[in-house]
Symmetry: C2
Subunit: 210 residues, 2 copies
Amino acid sequence: MKLQIALDLVDTNTALKMVEKIQDIIDIVEIGTPMIVKEGMAPVKAMKEKFPQVTVLADVKIADGGAIESGYAVDAGADIVTVLAIASDQTIMGARDAAHKAGREIYVDMLSVPDVVARAKELDTMGVDYIGVHTASDVQGLGKTPYEELRQIAEVVKNAKIAAAGGINLGTIGKVKELGADVGIVGSALTSAPDLRQAVESYQAIIKGE
Amino acid sequence: MKLQIALDLVDTNTALKMVEKIQDIIDIVEIGTPMIVKEGMAPVKAMKEKFPQVTVLADVKIADGGAIESGYAVDAGADIVTVLAIASDQTIMGARDAAHKAGREIYVDMLSVPDVVARAKELDTMGVDYIGVHTASDVQGLGKTPYEELRQIAEVVKNAKIAAAGGINLGTIGKVKELGADVGIVGSALTSAPDLRQAVESYQAIIKGE
């Protein structure tokens, strides 16, 4: 399983400094939606320019204008671009095609999907690269977690890689791997760690079964 | 009914030049999602700085992190901020509160909502300022339009203002008004007009029944 760090509440310079410390031990660096809302594609571009060898995901959460917005992320250098599963199939396919034409990947975020099993089956026939379950940060306070949905989609997704996000921490990253995720996404549990490099090493040790 | 122009596929400078021509006759200027994906809040900030009297809507299409992302748009000067209706109630209320605390408004976009009547009723009890039906640009080619959904929500929304977007043009803006919209949103039909000012005047003449 790969480890993805979600950088949400930092500016571009802070994000670059954080990744500098972990660029050799992190698998995927996510430029989170709040960063994109604030700064657009600038942090994606800056991250790829400074760390071309790092895999960068642009969490655009495309809802419409799939080809156009995916194209912007691709032009900025994103290796992976996110689109919402609740978007129309046309939007998802447009985003997919814009990414694939440039040799990049598309990630479908299952945020707010009522029936994740049915939608995951549909998406899995559409040639998307990742299908990720996602407990919104705004509902984590209600005690919701992504683990049951991860278990459900692991049973039905045959082609795409699967991922999980939403409150994952050092105590649950092992469960995410056991449930079959190809990517485990960790946000504040990593970004708030006093020693970021040591924290990433702790997660990777669990993932690698050390 | 107010007329909103959606600026989607232009850069900040072009957007400023366009609004310069129509700032006294347009009701709401929308900084579209593609602009935000590319440039973040910079175009919102630039628009309000140059035209403080113009009402600016930031089409963030918030899906999570309601308070944070709405706060970013408010800080940039947005008068109205959009959140997706498919987002959790917690996200919508967080976005609403961040906007209202600053004396701004929240607009809920019904993109991809399966049952618009049921969701509009729920949203209307949540103190949001606008509820807008929206036919995604990516599905307009399939012949879909927002008019039937506008008619449906007009019957059930009692508190919020209602709006419609998605392929509206000079031939349909009259129908949007007749169906009871408080705001009619026009994108490419206006932005591709050879004479933007004359085009806005034509729409306003129909809206005002001249």
